[in-house]
Symmetry: C2
Subunit: 455 residues, 2 copies
Amino acid sequence: MTALNSTHDPALRSWVETANLPGADFPIQNLPFGAFERDGHARTGVAIGDRIVDLHALHEAALIDGDAALACAAASGGSLNPLMALEPRYLSALRRALSALLRRDSPQAPQVQSREAALLPRIADVTMRLPCEIGDYTDFLTSLYHTERHGRYKGLADPLPPAFKSLPIAYHGRASSLRVSGGEVRRPRGQYRDPHGNVCFGPAPALDFELELAAFIGRGNAFTQPIAIDDAHDHIFGYCLLNDWSAKSIQWFEQVLGPFLGKSFHSSLSPWIVTAEALAPFRKPAPSRAAGDPALLPHLHGTFDQQNGGLNIELEAYLSTTKMRANGVAAVRITRTHLDNLYWTFAQMVTHHASNGCNLRTGDLLGSGTISGADDLSRACLTELTNAGKDPLQLPNGETRTALEDGDEVVFRARAVQPGAVSIGFGECRGTIAPALEALASSGSSMSSRSEAHA
Amino acid sequence: MTALNSTHDPALRSWVETANLPGADFPIQNLPFGAFERDGHARTGVAIGDRIVDLHALHEAALIDGDAALACAAASGGSLNPLMALEPRYLSALRRALSALLRRDSPQAPQVQSREAALLPRIADVTMRLPCEIGDYTDFLTSLYHTERHGRYKGLADPLPPAFKSLPIAYHGRASSLRVSGGEVRRPRGQYRDPHGNVCFGPAPALDFELELAAFIGRGNAFTQPIAIDDAHDHIFGYCLLNDWSAKSIQWFEQVLGPFLGKSFHSSLSPWIVTAEALAPFRKPAPSRAAGDPALLPHLHGTFDQQNGGLNIELEAYLSTTKMRANGVAAVRITRTHLDNLYWTFAQMVTHHASNGCNLRTGDLLGSGTISGADDLSRACLTELTNAGKDPLQLPNGETRTALEDGDEVVFRARAVQPGAVSIGFGECRGTIAPALEALASSGSSMSSRSEAHA
């Protein structure tokens, strides 16, 4: 996986000129995978500039062969899961073939261009979907800074849980309410304590965002069979941005066995899976442990992972309010952070997750947890940015925030950056808070409909 | 759903004589649904005595018509999910048609009997599978006794979490490692503290069972749309037994955001879904709240649910050890409990779960949590049965247990019982602890295979 191949050549440019613009998320070195809907059909594709290579159309056009054609055929049924489940060499072959088709000097460029309408729709003209079917979603807690700050807000003597440096702490998340970036994030109703300490049920205050990166499992492991740490990288197909929207008021009241309704109302994913292969030039050593930290247990210590388990990825969060947008005030960047702020590597998360024999399946999602760092700008949720509400966030138009209000839009962006490499982006993870729905009607009417259904 | 129909008639008997035996789990009043493998094909079916009505074969035989035939067709593809997603009247029609086919005086009995090999395989001759595809699995914590005992073991001043009587506490479980009853339950490896307090990684001691009932979601709710409490019953297709195997040693160390690897190594389900419709004669009022308990919030208070939200179900756990079986000592009943011991109804669990807009999908599973009661025999896990290890369990052959050892077999059984009704059973949920696998080989060999895969 460290081995660079022809697709990583920084000199490459594409004949899709929007891929070559400075700061483009999807240059020819990236080739991220996604799923979309086009004319009512489920499709998969690969982003290049402002276009998508439609893998179903590419399969029908028969412009590639060998392993690349097999990989393309696997993805041509409208779901990425069959491709993700293959040996990594199939993905490599497909990326090389796409790179060869799309590069400026490609002899096949005219063939693609002559079928541009079928083969290369504009991203703006399709509806993106979740990139794959996600069986189980796990969310980790791997930023020491995020964990410590929250421990301090709770007034804990030792703000870091004892297990934090021994294993990557995690919980099972809700898969059904994962949604692709864009559109409305409905404010949930829920039980919480009002300022007088009374338990009430209603639209949840204290809504927050949490900026995360998430890994998609490619090949899974068999039930009861763990994954060795240096094999773990081969089980990660790629990464996307994750907004782990949180209703803190619900969470504070409900939480006994971990987060539940405080999170399960909506989690947003950016539409494109940036492959682990595309990120090879951005690998770096695993974040180093501080002096005095407990030694890594052997099953979490891999030679390959220690040397290559980190990724040079910068992440940002932007906020705009209804008033800001109405008055033409640009969204303000409220967080800038780096993947270095994670204490654990994604390979360690994979190995830990499977260490009890739990089977990870193709398409499973592993969130990093909120990627907060030590400095103020790197706080990756509003709770931290406002010191648990004590220091409201000052917005450029004079508004302030301690929590997200209806109409607030949060946008995440991220880029992999490395000297000597063409930087690649993740696209956006976007969502706007919509007001809570009206409360349900009285149970009388619903009872009559129930009885009718059973008559 | 309260309305009884012809399938509930206590006078009914079947021409499948094993269904009429005293104490049979699957009399003609039950007709539970399951999935199995037969000659390499995925099939669904309905249990009657020691037989299964193969719904694929029934569909092909064209012995039923109308809504019943449509329901049968929906289930004939090898998965129950399409049937579970239908309006409840389709299930009712299919149950009525099956009841009519299988009753003693059925004019169609000869037609079924003449194709017995195809239509009515023996349960013992097929391999049972998980009854449906389960997208998300949620486990609740709804026994006050279980919760209080564990709080006391931890030395908490108030052993009951503040939210316990305001909402049914829950966490997301792992769907991928749910397995049908039977066979081996592999002891997991994991991180835990040894008796000296050192963190180590190895085969997990302190393995436990937890006796639960679980509900399957039939029709789901749309994303962002809650479910009114008196509609919740119509979203429950049926119930099965759940063994929430727990590696307490792992759980005690890892648990910050709820159970994770301490549970996700294996959870066992009994193969048959006893439908909510079959359980109609066993309905009873919701367990009453004690004086001084907080009032139910309105969205969790339903007239229908208060009158019918309980179920008269008795549950038991049996234990046998390798030595006991070798010496012909019968399995010993170690737990006998009742669903009355739950503080919340399943309808309240459904409504709470969807109250934030979280979408429940057809096939989703909701575990009750360990169904422990007040008295000693109703403690539904070894941790409680042994007072957290202080009072080892005495077995009839002189062995003792504070935790499950390799070779121990745990069997759950449950019956719905009501005067005037033919009692119906859930079948068994069975599992035997197998020794942990050997530790993984060094990462050296796996690295070379990794490099090869990417060559």
